[in-house]
Amino acid sequence: MKTIADLLHEHPFFHGLEECDLQFLASCGENCVYHDGDYLAQENNPANHFFLIRSGRVTVETFVPNRGALCLLTLHGGDIFGWSWLFPPYISAFDARAQGDVRSLRLGGECLRNKCEEDPKLGFELMKRFAKIATERLQSARIQLLDIYGSPSAQSHAT
């Protein structure tokens, strides 16, 4: 049976990390399965975990009164979710919901923070990886906002 360290090793987020670092982080992790409609995280609730999605599809949503849950993006195998555990007040900003079965690894946020404090070199390496993904998500969100597939004439009318 695969250990948590093995599973961490397989996930692209941890590619290239030293074996000893993965062993060090493994004690924060657990393997979990979510079923269709289960929430991995909920807006305004404590953000206790960092999720590494191994397979399946997760929608990141926000609830809008009179409109229901609006999906902002979907995440798939190889993606990660959640950095609200990194900073006070450690509260989730969005809902994350399983669409069908989702296999994921989740690492305890507090445990991960403590490990990063204990080993700042590893902590910096992880921060760089988070920052890269956060930047990519920001860039994607900006492109989404540009509504690039809309007609240019409609856009100029709108502005």
């Binding site: 609006l70 999906c71 993006l73 990519e136 989404q144």
Partner: protein, 278 residues
Amino acid sequence: MTPSIYQVIHRQEEFAGTFTLRLQVQRKNRTNPPMRFNPGQFNMLYAFGTGESAISFSGLACGRELEGEGSILIHTIRAQGNVTRALECLREGDTLGVRGPFGQGWPLQKAKGKELLIIAGGLGLAPLRPVIYAALEGRLAANKVRLFYGARHPSELLYREELESWAKQIEQEISVDHGDGTWPGHIGVITDPLQAARIDGANTVAFLCGPEIMMRFCIQALLRKGVPASAISLSMERNMKCATGLCGHCQWGPNFICKDGPVFCYEDIRPWLQIRSL
């Protein structure tokens, strides 16, 4: 070059404001040789009394003829302004003028022995559809073909039924910017699945067509995956007038898009793509 008169024989609304016209040359000209074109080339469609617009071939590659019926041309058009709105008003039986084919198409030979990534955004799928047909008919010697297609919303996907049937033969990543719970695919920008895909850069060629900003971000993702600049082709759209390289209306750096393009190799046009005033 004077326009030939064609008749609309079929009109299909893809979604609000975007439609596909199937055109047949006027009966008296059906004995003329059929129009032959390469995927990626375009025609100038003339809405009588209004004007002309450059519109890519979105139909069968090589202008497949029907016995004695002359060539059937297929064009997918989005109503933008005067000319395309006039084309939108055409119904079956109506006529229009057609000049073409113009420009340089997709370098299909580059796909030989490689994995071909077809990357389309919005209406950009139209000029790439003939490449997909060529792949489905086994006319590309590519090892594998993958389609990455981004659209604004599931209701704004072109050729929905065909997309489903292509999925049997071509791996697809379809992404919409905005979708609801009923959409089973990716929600987000098309660069996300491209970034997540396993790509053997050295053995890949990519054909891109879509909004320029989408192509720029996709090119960055491809370069990071090790796809050489020489293996990336993109279709550039600029306003056209003569379409024959005479008026200079479509000049872009040292190129005339109507004559040297619209399909260019990224390696050749990289400097011009970065000049904002062009």
